[in-house]
Amino acid sequence: MATTSITIDETPRIRSFLALADDALILGHRTSEWTGHAPTLEEELALANIALDLIGQARALYQATGYAEDALAYLRDPPQFRNALIAELPNGDFAFTIARLFLVSAASDLFWRGAMGATDPDLAAIAAKAEKETAYHVRHAAEWLIRLGDGTDESHRRAQEALDTLWPYTGEITASVDREAWLAVVAPILARATLAQPAESWMQAGGREGRHTEYLGHLLAEMQILPRSYPGAAW
């Protein structure tokens, strides 16, 4: 890499903004990877819309830290990222993408709803916009999950596998909300989808401290190569 990474003085406020922003950026990037590969034109646009919502949320949150948004996105190494591990997992199949989007968005929507009354004016303003976007992400993913779970044998099997794989990664995303409230959103959708709710058990952690899966490095390499190779490139 031709450029050096930035160092950040992580005050508690900046750290909490980075956690939210990195969740949005990394999940937004993963979602954007469907562009050109989605099963239908309609879903292609739906996923691109959602990816753009998430990246827009990340930008607003980065700007509120006082650091340059591009530097935060492009000039940090994996251990400096504060996103939950669930955001960086590869997309897998469509069922995995939808199940993750549903589980994460359900937690995000609860968080944004609470944050609308936050004393931090930046957070309250971002929450007011993000909540509407996220509410739609929840609805879109939930409607798909119901149809995949209650669809064919194949789609049910894939949706259940995705849910079972993802469940241990949900501890990080519900740490900042009431997990019981999150389960109250998730459980009825799983029931309608005829999917078995995995048992509450051991949870993965580490993302907030910068201990990431092997996948984040590969994601960042692709996301950062251009600004790292051509510093200040503009078009």
């Binding site: 034109l41 739609y136 409607e143 149809r147």
Partner: protein, 95 residues
């Protein structure tokens, strides 16, 4: 996806209060709820609307193109059906 599993829906958008819903295109979707979401995602990305309708395309009864002469040509000679056919006396002013 198979055409049979995701039939075609016609999409209508109402841009503002007081206007009629206008046909803007179509989407493929498994059912009404998914069709509404697809319509939102495909046709309202740039603030085009405040309200959406989706209608199963096969619910629309269309005129047969080969009937065009019978149905629409006779009206061509009825110029007196246009308001501009009549001269409005000056005294009437703007109507």
């Amino acid at each position: 996806m198979a055409e049979g599993r995701t039939p075609l829906w016609e999409v209508f958008v109402r841009a503002r209060n007081g206007l009629a819903h206008k046909h803007v295109g179509s989407v493929h979707a498994a059912d009404a709820a998914m069709a509404l979401q697809a319509a939102r995602d495909v046709y309202t990305r740039r603030g085009e609307g405040l309200s959406l309708w989706v209608v199963p395309s096969n619910a629309i009864v269309a005129s047969d193109p080969s009937d065009r002469g019978m149905l629409f040509e006779p009206t061509g000679s009825k110029i007196y059906r246009h308001p501009t056919f009549y001269e409005v006396p000056e005294d009437v002013g703007h109507m």
